[in-house]
C-alpha cells in the first residue's frame, strides 16, 4: 500500500463566507492507514474544512473554495456528499443520523440492503426485490465485529445507549466496501470513558486494516493516544503540525488558544478590589444544549468578567438563567439582594440587561424598525419613550423621543442603515449586533450580560463592539459579564475569566494568566495549582 503517494492531500485550501475568512492556506497530507488528529477551538475552521472535503452543498452555494484536494493523487471536487461517499470517504457525525424506529441492522444497511429476487421484479423493476434478512444480519454483524464490539443487531436505534448508537454509525461506514477515509467528528464526545476506550481500540484496528482517518476531538489525551499526526487549527490557519511523540497536552492546548496575547490584556490597569455586585451560588439552568449544573462565582462592581469554555459546556446558560429566559434554580443576588429567578421582568427591573447570543431568535424584532428594536425594552421596563396622557391613564408611545435616541445610537455605534425606520432583518450581522447593544445601553443597566458579542460579524465590527463595551465599562462604570467562545477575545477585554466545563466553573483566572492554563481548564483537566480556586471569586 505504501506506494509513496498519500491517500489524501490538501493543498492550500481556503474559504471565505461573505467576505469573512474562515480558512486560509490549509496544507496537509494523510497516508494510507494513518490517523490524523484535528484540533482547534470552536470556530477555528474544523467543520468548514470537513464540509469542503465532504462536498457539502453549503460550500458550493457560498462561492466554493480555494486550493486543491487530491485523493489517491487525483484532484477531486465533490459537488455533493454522495460523490464523496462514492469516492470512499465516510463521515461519522457529531449528531446521530440514525432512524430511531429502525433496528441496528436496518440502520447500518439503509439503502444498501441485501435483496432476493421475486416475480414482482419483472413488473415493477429492481426496487421491489425482497429484503434478504438473513444476509443483512450477517453483514451487519460482520461490520460490528470488525470494530471489535458486539451489539444485538435486532435492537431499535431509539432504545440504545448513546455509545451503541455511535458504534452503529461507524459500522455503517465500515459496511461500505470501498471506504478508504473515515472522518470522525467528535465521536467520543457523548461516550463514557470505558466506551471511548473501546472505540479508540477499534479505530486502531481499522487503521491497521488500511483505512485512514481524520479524528476530530476536544479530548486531547485521546488525540495523543490514537493519532499518528496532529494538526492544530486556529482562526482558519494551521498553526502546528506535529507528531504525538514530539508534543504533550500543554503544548497542544497553548497552540489551540494562541500565545502572544499578554500584550493586549496588559493594557488594562489592574483594579482595586471593590464590593461584589453579583453573587451567584449553586446556579443550575436547564438550557437545552448548554446545561448549567452548579455554578458559583461572584463579580465585582465595575469589572469586566469573562465566561469562556467549549460549546455545549454550559457557559451560555449562565446569563440566560440569571436573566430568567430558561428554567433556573439556586441563588443569585444583585447588590446584596436575592433576585427572583425565572422572571425576566424582575431581572430587568434589577438594573440588569442582556444581549443574547441568539441575535435573530431572541435579540431582535426582525420585522420591526430599528427604533422599535432599540427602544422597546426600555419602554416596557422603565417607561422611557412614553408620554402620559389623560393623567397617566393612557401611556402613549413617544415616537419622537424614540427617533431621537435611535439616531443618537446610530451615530455613536456607526450603525449602517438607510434610516431609523429600516427593518432590522435588512441589516448585516454586525449592524444587527450593534442594534442589540444599543437596546441594552438605552436601559442604562448596572450589570450588562453580553453573550457571543462578536459571533458571525466581520473584523471591523468586532473591534467596534469590543471597544464600545470597554468604553461603556469605563465611562458609565457598567459591570460587564461577557460570554464568548473565543478565548482570545475574552483575554483582550476582561479582567478575570471563568471557564465553564460540564456545567460547572472549572476555574477563574485573571486574564493575564497563561493561555495554557485556560486551555487545560477548558479540557476539564484541572492544573495542579488550581485545586482550591473552584467557585472562589477573588482572584
Amino acid at each position: 500500500m505504501a506506494n509513496g503517494e498519500p491517500l489524501l492531500r490538501v493543498e492550500s485550501v481556503g474559504k471565505e463566507f461573505f467576505g469573512n475568512r474562515v480558512l486560509a492556506d490549509v496544507d496537509f497530507s494523510l497516508g494510507h492507514g494513518e490517523i490524523l488528529g484535528l484540533v482547534g477551538e470552536n470556530g477555528a475552521g474544523k467543520s468548514t474544512l470537513m464540509n469542503i472535503l465532504f462536498g457539502m452543498p453549503v460550500i458550493a452555494s457560498t462561492g466554493g473554495y480555494e486550493g486543491r484536494i487530491l485523493l489517491d493523487g487525483k484532484e477531486v471536487k465533490f459537488s455533493s456528499p454522495f460523490e464523496a461517499i462514492d469516492a470512499g470517504i465516510g463521515m461519522v457525525h457529531q449528531e446521530f443520523s440514525l432512524l430511531p424506529g429502525f433496528t441496528v441492522t436496518e440502520n447500518i444497511l439503509l439503502n444498501r440492503e441485501s435483496t432476493k429476487y421475486n416475480p414482482l421484479v419483472e413488473v415493477f423493476g429492481e426496487r421491489i426485490r425482497t429484503l434478504d434478512r438473513q444476509g443483512m444480519k450477517k453483514r451487519a454483524e460482520a461490520a460490528i465485529s470488525e470494530i471489535g464490539f458486539s451489539i444485538d443487531t435486532g435492537t431499535f436505534a431509539a432504545e440504545m445507549p448513546v455509545g451503541h448508537k455511535q458504534f452503529t454509525e461507524i459500522a455503517r461506514e465500515i459496511d461500505r466496501l470501498n471506504t478508504k477515509l473515515l472522518v470522525l467528528d467528535e465521536p467520543t464526545a457523548v461516550l463514557a470513558e470505558s466506551e471511548a476506550e473501546i472505540l479508540i481500540q477499534s479505530l486502531r484496528n481499522l487503521s491497521s486494516k488500511g483505512i485512514s482517518m481524520i479524528f476530530i476531538s476536544h479530548r486531547l489525551q485521546e488525540i495523543l493516544d490514537l493519532c499518528d499526526k496532529i494538526v492544530v487549527l486556529r482562526d482558519g490557519r494551521i498553526v502546528k503540525e506535529t507528531r504525538p511523540s514530539d508534543t504533550d497536552i500543554f503544548q497542544i492546548a497553548s497552540h489551540m488558544v494562541g500565545r502572544n496575547v499578554e500584550a493586549s490584556s496588559a493594557s488594562r490597569p489592574s483594579r482595586p478590589d471593590t464590593e461584589a455586585i453579583l453573587e451567584v451560588d449553586k446556579l443550575w439552568v436547564d438550557m437545552p444544549g448548554e446545561t448549567v449544573r452548579d455554578a458559583t462565582f461572584s463579580v465585582q462592581r465595575g469589572e469586566i468578567f469573562g465566561i469562556g469554555g467549549l460549546a455545549g459546556q454550559g457557559k451560555l446558560g449562565i446569563a440566560n438563567g440569571i436573566m430568567g429566559l430558561f428554567m433556573a434554580g439556586g441563588s443569585v443576588s444583585v447588590k446584596g439582594l436575592v433576585i427572583k429567578l425565572n422572571d425576566p421582568a424582575h431581572s430587568l427591573s434589577r438594573d440588569m440587561a442582556f444581549v443574547s447570543e441568539d441575535r435573530r431568535g431572541v435579540g431582535l424584532l426582525l420585522e420591526e424598525s430599528i427604533d422599535w428594536n432599540i427602544a422597546f425594552t426600555a419602554m416596557q421596563v422603565q417607561d422611557k419613550f412614553v408620554r402620559k396622557l389623560l393623567g397617566g391613564l393612557v401611556k402613549w408611545r413617544d415616537d419622537a423621543a424614540m427617533r431621537a435616541a435611535t439616531q443618537e445610537y446610530i451615530k455613536l455605534l456607526d450603525i449602517k442603515c438607510t434610516s431609523h425606520k429600516q427593518r432590522a432583518v435588512e441589516l448585516s450581522g454586525g449592524n444587527q449586533q450593534k442594534v442589540c447593544l444599543a437596546k441594552a445601553f438605552v436601559v442604562g443597566p448596572d450589570i450588562l450580560f453580553v453573550s457571543e458579542p462578536t459571533r458571525g460579524i466581520d473584523v471591523g465590527a468586532k473591534k467596534l463592539v469590543l471597544d464600545t463595551l470597554r468604553k461603556v465599562n469605563e465611562e458609565r462604570g457598567t459591570t460587564i459579564i461577557m460570554t464568548s467562545s473565543e478565548l482570545e477575545e475574552l483575554r483582550s477585554v476582561c479582567d478575570r475569566i471563568a471557564i465553564v466545563d460540564n456545567g460547572r466553573i472549572s476555574g477563574i483566572r485573571p486574564a493575564a494568566a497563561p493561555a495554557t492554563e485556560f486551555g487545560l481548564l477548558m479540557m476539564g483537566s484541572e492544573p495542579a495549582v488550581a485545586g482550591s480556586d473552584v467557585g472562589g471569586g477573588d482572584a
Binding site: V362, L365, F376, T377, M379, Q380, W396
Partner: protein, 350 residues
C-alpha cells in the same frame, strides 16, 4: 413618473391593484347591462359600514400573533345576547342600541378571556383551534337559544310559546338607528344613500384601535406578535398580552354584529353566526394584511374591495349571464381569497 408608479404598485401590492381594477371595470360595465351605478355604490357603502367593525375585529389578534380570528362567532354570540336582551327589555332607539352594547361588552370580555386561555395552550395552531371554538360555540348556543328564559312575544316561537326564533326583526326597536344618523338620502327611495352614522361609528372604532396600538401596551402586543421570544426577554408577559388582544377582538366582534344587525334589520340566531368569520377574514387579507401584521388601512381598503366585489359581481354577472350565480361567485371570491392569503403565509415564513 414610472418610478412613482412602481413605488405605488409595490406599496399597494398586485392583488389589490388587480382586484381594484376589476372592481372599477365592474362599475364601468354596470350601466351597459342596466345595473344602476348609484344604487350599486350605495349598496357597497352600506355593506362596508355593516361589515367594517367585524373586519376590524381581526386586527388585535393578528397583531399579537394569534393569527386570524376564525373564532369571530364567539364575539358575535356576545353581540347577539346583547341584542336579544335589549329587545327583551323593550329598549328602543339609540338608547336601546347603546343598552345592547352595554350588555354585549361584558359578555364578550368573559368569553374572550376563556377563548384566550384556550389559544394560549395551542400556540402555533391558533387558527385551526379558533375555527373549532367558533363552530362549537355556535352549536352550544343553538341549544341555549331554545332554553334561555326570554319571553318577549316578538322574539319567541309563535306556536310553542318558548324558545327564540331563528330570525328576529329589529324593526320597532333600533333598526337603522346608526345608519340613518346624519344620513344622505334614503335607502328606500332608490336614490344615492350614505349611512353616515355607521361610518362615524366605524371610524371611531378604527381610531380607538389605532390609538391602542400606539400605547405602551399596544406596542408590547405588536412585539409579542412579531417575536414572542424577544418580548419575553424584555420582561413582557406573553400570555397576558395575547389574552388582552383576544378579548379586544372578541369585544369588537360583539360590537360589529350589533352594527350589522341594526343595518340589516334582523337578528339571526342559531346557525347564523357560523360562517360569519370567513368574509371578515377574506376582507382583511384582501386588504393586504398578513397573518401576523395588519393595519387600519388594510381594514378599510380590504372591506371596501371585498364588499364591492360581493355587491357588484353578482348583479353585473347575473345580468350578463341571465342566471343567478350570485351565491356561487360570493363563495368562490371569499374562500379563494382566504386560500390565497394562507398559502402566501408559508411563502413569507420560508
Amino acid at each position: 413618473m414610472v418610478a412613482k408608479l412602481k413605488k405605488f404598485i409595490e406599496n399597494a401590492g398586485w392583488p389589490r391593484i388587480i382586484i381594484g381594477l376589476f372592481l372599477v371595470s365592474l362599475y364601468i360595465a354596470a350601466p351597459m347591462v342596466n345595473v344602476k351605478v348609484l344604487t350599486s355604490l350605495s349598496d357597497t357603502l352600506v355593506r362596508v359600514g355593516m361589515n367594517g367593525v367585524l373586519v376590524l375585529a381581526m386586527v388585535p389578534m393578528v397583531q399579537s400573533g394569534c393569527g386570524l380570528n376564525f373564532g369571530l362567532p364567539l364575539g358575535i354570540i356576545a353581540g347577539l345576547l346583547g341584542a336579544t336582551t335589549s329587545i327583551q327589555f323593550q329598549a328602543r332607539g339609540l338608547a336601546g342600541f347603546g343598552f345592547a352594547m352595554l350588555v354585549a361588552v361584558p359578555i364578550a370580555v368573559a368569553l374572550g378571556f376563556i377563548y384566550a386561555q384556550i389559544l394560549n395552550r395551542v400556540k402555533g395552531e391558533e387558527m385551526m383551534i379558533a375555527t373549532y371554538v367558533g363552530f362549537s360555540s355556535v352549536a352550544v348556543m343553538c341549544m341555549a337559544w331554545l332554553l334561555l328564559p326570554f319571553n318577549s312575544p316578538v322574539m319567541i316561537w309563535g306556536y310553542g310559546g318558548s324558545g327564540l326564533r331563528t330570525t328576529i326583526s329589529t324593526e320597532n326597536y333600533w333598526r337603522h338607528v346608526l345608519s340613518d344618523f346624519l344620513a344622505f338620502g334614503s335607502d328606500t327611495s332608490g336614490t344615492f344613500y350614505v349611512p353616515t352614522g355607521m361610518f362615524i361609528f366605524f371610524f371611531l372604532m378604527l381610531f380607538l384601535v389605532w390609538g391602542f396600538f400606539r400605547t405602551k401596551t399596544g406596542t408590547a402586543i405588536t412585539a409579542v406578535g412579531s417575536n414572542p421570544e424577544f418580548a419575553r426577554a424584555s420582561g413582557i408577559d406573553v400570555n397576558r398580552m395575547r389574552t388582552i388582544s383576544v378579548i379586544l377582538s372578541t369585544v369588537l366582534g360583539a360590537l360589529g354584529i350589533l352594527v350589522y344587525e341594526q343595518s340589516f334589520g334582523f337578528i339571526q340566531l342559531y346557525m347564523g353566526p357560523l360562517y360569519m368569520a370567513f368574509p371578515a377574514v377574506a376582507a382583511i387579507l384582501l386588504g393586504g394584511a398578513s397573518v401576523n401584521k395588519a393595519t387600519m388601512v388594510n381594514v378599510v381598503v380590504g372591506t371596501f374591495l371585498f364588499q364591492g366585489i360581493l355587491t357588484m359581481t353578482p348583479s353585473v354577472i347575473n345580468s350578463l349571464l341571465q342566471s343567478d350565480m350570485s351565491e356561487v361567485i360570493r363563495i368562490i371570491v371569499s374562500n379563494g381569497m382566504i386560500l390565497y392569503a394562507l398559502t402566501r403565509k408559508t411563502q413569507v415564513k420560508r
